[in-house]
Symmetry: C3
Subunit: 202 residues, 3 copies
């Protein structure tokens, strides 16, 4: 499935940009920006691979991942204003990225014979821990803990994918259904401020 | 040794509650609380397993660990006040938890043929790094660096267990002796403020 | 190559001292200082080994690494003033340490058959992530993001080593050339404040 491979590279690119923009925000230098972009883009998948024992971790075996991350640096430098103005499209790109990372992490874990629920969890780890590491290195409380139903949207998307695969194994529509779930949940949660309303712990 | 298995699940449950309570303290939402509970409960063992190469890490192969963590969420929600009032018993539960995690981490490392002193260290890592990760994600300097002889108590408990196993291999009393060591050292250190008194670096 | 082994132990010792001094700065207690020294000294190599799948990680199989770290504690205690006065020599020791860690990490990764550029990256990870973890645990934005061309110097040193090995495989001069590169770049960057001048992102 080559189109998935290109979508994966695209997701890596989007995550790298989000890491570099965080670095600009923190007034880091060029190298700091590159490191933060790298960590944000591959951090989640690296943690997943170390946990499930798929080492050397994935991006080490295919240099294209490193290349798109390095390519994100001049893009941020020359088109920074355009990217920041793209806010709405950006939200869409980012959500496609996390939806895709969820599915890829899920599939990789299932292939090792681990339980489906653990596979969904590892999908979520792949999708959200790059951002968590970015925030920890920037000395912020991870965004995942502060705003939006980010992890929950991935979790739901993973469940939808599992269910769809059960009924239509290998159908391309499964990926679309799963990513649409992530997009819809995230969109509705931001619009309706769900994380504030449904919090019995507060 | 089934009773150890149940004690391990109990320790996981206690650690999950401590993570969820930290999340409540930081005003995180439900999902944030679940993630912080999860990370606190399995973080130390996960790091140990990745370091010694026992992957996929332990909790992925037995869903009961995930279940007791999820179960900790409604417990915190409905009985929060009771848990906070239980302060003294809580200190005991928590100390039994770290003592047990130390012994289990130690045994798992020894079984791989690594040196006994490395096994004790990995026991300490299993016991304390869940809390370290909880504190890092909450943007706090880890508690382990600020208060109480937490890590030292685990280290001493690990040494006592090693010595006891040398003389009485496999005796149940070894676990009791080790956990009692952790409890006594931690109790005395809090009561007598040892970490403040014995610090030639200050 | 035994002299490399001793240089590696020396680098570990230097990094342990830098971790312990950070702990003194943050007013941690003795055990906190030991933990921070340990993490700073072996953190980078541990992360590298977990990522490339060389587990159990290196320092677990050779107790000398643990010994030099423990030995750093009394050294910091008795000669703290002398160490702080040694600022210039310290800069040299530290730079030799990161240069050496870069080369060792690079060689270990190459030996697994991974791409040379990934090997250079893993060399940089070995050299700088101990410090990154030290800063994260001390609740600081990692130094690597704030000052000095630390990671870039390692990267350049790694490239020089690769090129030199290509022309003169196994020559001792390669290591000298590589470490000299790291020292010169770092020295020039601090003197000329390169990180401030060359930052198109600011």
């Amino acid at each position: 499935m080559t189109y998935i491979y290109y979508l994966d590279l695209f997701g890596t690119f989007v995550f790298a940009i989000s890491g570099i923009l965080a670095a600009v925000d923190k007034k880091l230098d060029l190298v700091g920006a590159l490191i933060l972009g790298f960590v944000t883009a591959v951090g989640g998948g690296t943690l997943r691979d170390m946990m499930i024992g798929e080492t050397p971790v994935g991006w080490m075996k295919d240099l294209n991942y490193g290349l798109v991350i390095v390519a994100a640096l001049p893009v941020c430098f020359f088109w920074k204003k355009i990217i920041l103005r793209l806010k709405k499209s950006w939200f869409l790109f980012d959500t496609i990225g996390i939806g895709l990372f969820t599915i890829l992490g899920l599939q990789k874990t299932l292939a090792l014979g681990l339980s489906p629920i653990i596979a969904v969890l590892m999908g979520v780890v792949s999708a959200v821990f790059g951002g968590v590491i970015r925030d920890v290195l920037s000395n912020e409380i991870p965004l995942i803990f502060r705003k939006e139903i980010y992890a929950s949207a991935c979790f739901a998307g993973g469940l939808v994918f599992l269910a769809a695969e059960y009924f239509f194994p290998g159908a391309m529509i499964n990926i679309l259904a799963s990513i649409s779930t992530v997009i819809i949940i995230r969109y509705l949660s931001v619009r309706n401020q769900w994380s504030i309303k449904f919090n019995p712990l507060s």
